[in-house]
Symmetry: C2
Subunit: 308 residues, 2 copies
Amino acid sequence: MPDSRLKKYLDKKRRTVDAALRRCLPKHAALPPVVHEAMRYSVFAGGKRLRPILCLAAAELCGGTAKRVMPTACALELIHTYSLVHDDLPAMDDDDFRRGLPTSHKKFGEGNAVLAGDALLTFGFQLMAENARRGRARPAAVLDVVRTVAEAAGSRGMVGGQAADLAMSGNGKNRNGEKTPDALRKKLDYIHRNKTAALIRASLRAGALLAGASPVRLNALDAYGRSIGLAFQIVDDILDIVGDKKLLGKRGSDRDNDKLTFPALYGLEASRRMARREVRRAKNALSLFGPRARILNDLADYIVERQN
Amino acid sequence: MPDSRLKKYLDKKRRTVDAALRRCLPKHAALPPVVHEAMRYSVFAGGKRLRPILCLAAAELCGGTAKRVMPTACALELIHTYSLVHDDLPAMDDDDFRRGLPTSHKKFGEGNAVLAGDALLTFGFQLMAENARRGRARPAAVLDVVRTVAEAAGSRGMVGGQAADLAMSGNGKNRNGEKTPDALRKKLDYIHRNKTAALIRASLRAGALLAGASPVRLNALDAYGRSIGLAFQIVDDILDIVGDKKLLGKRGSDRDNDKLTFPALYGLEASRRMARREVRRAKNALSLFGPRARILNDLADYIVERQN
């Protein structure tokens, strides 16, 4: 449970992000209706808006304002949502439910789910580019953001992590050649750093870049992002085993897919210790900001203590 | 058949683009190998490089150089390739072959084909953003390009066209409510303008934007792009019926999928007339460039006369 100060902050920011997402997404009526409906369906299926909030918080910590980075914050949520829509596809994790609701392909059909994901990713880049409009940010900084997010989301980031994850799933069949604990650990580390942590890290970096942060501050937020991104994925793995099914909307999906996870490889207790260690590292990275980093420090704690 | 002058031009440009693509794409060995292998497989499966060449030709016509727009030219080919990989998926057009080779999902599995498409799209945006590096283009112009291409590729462009196409396929089952010829014609026009023409149009616009073209020249190239884009798709429909299967690598796919096409709705002869009319329009749009527009004029002719 986040403490009440953090809870208030998260609620407020989530509402602001939700309002901005509602404004920026194409309306239901826009042609072709089914893709736009599917885009909105998955975006408004109850996400925590963690990536946008991290982007906003990083910008604010570096002297920027939420308003000036909001298009990019929304873009990060769209890109996160696209990754969930495609990950849930029958050819990937084959999940019928997410957050208690039917997944996109169950509701709109597989072809439309592929297209809705494609459109969300594409619209994310459009929104990022629009962040330079009306003097919100310098064009060169916006281009840095586009490059940063593309790297984090692409084949050497999120997509790469998902591909490695996919290759490692399924009754250990495909684990040939990585049967030694050391090789498996290396693989798991690659998957987690890329599948989830890369975009979380890019979210913080994007906010800092748009606020014109100095290299020292940029690096600090980058280190923080790397650690909480990893902690986030470790906790995700743990919750898939011990979490409350009602709060999560699903559970046991990793085990069903025979996924390579932290608890599977290290056990629950060691996984929890690793997540806590990453949180300590994350907080240390922010020491140069002093007490102003309180929100991000609290957020790091929240990430390991969350129940969904 | 393109005349020999145009053929020489296309061959030369295609080789330059191929070399640039080879340099920019992640190497086979890069982790995760399968996604990078799948990306290269589809990119080097024998494309005509029409979109990159249009981008280069537009830039050169407006006083730019090929070198300065090459990252964007490559990006356009990657985005085109991603759209083919996803269109071929079982949940979409379900094609086993393209250009005589097994499609991505037949060769690498469905999950990897989805991911390879995602990665190609994402890398396309990364390359576009990198077009501002080493003083190649102004950051503001590059952002205009990112926005232009995202709009053309997204839910109100290429993805939208594909979604409408998908909804209209399959034994006429889903054509309820669009049974009048007028409604069908409107739908067909929407599909063709978006599915193919939008990205072709954006390719010309991108080249012109990076070369710093004046609004008058930008509009002229835009009108040209709109017309040849539409002509291109009409000819694609025609070739699916009368084309040489060996040259195309496949034929009859539209009929098998009961697609809504120009020949299906207007007949072959009327479709040919419409394609030629668009070519005339395209050439008229370029009159302000005088004889320097010769290459693009020849290209317009080639688009209706091509056999694959």
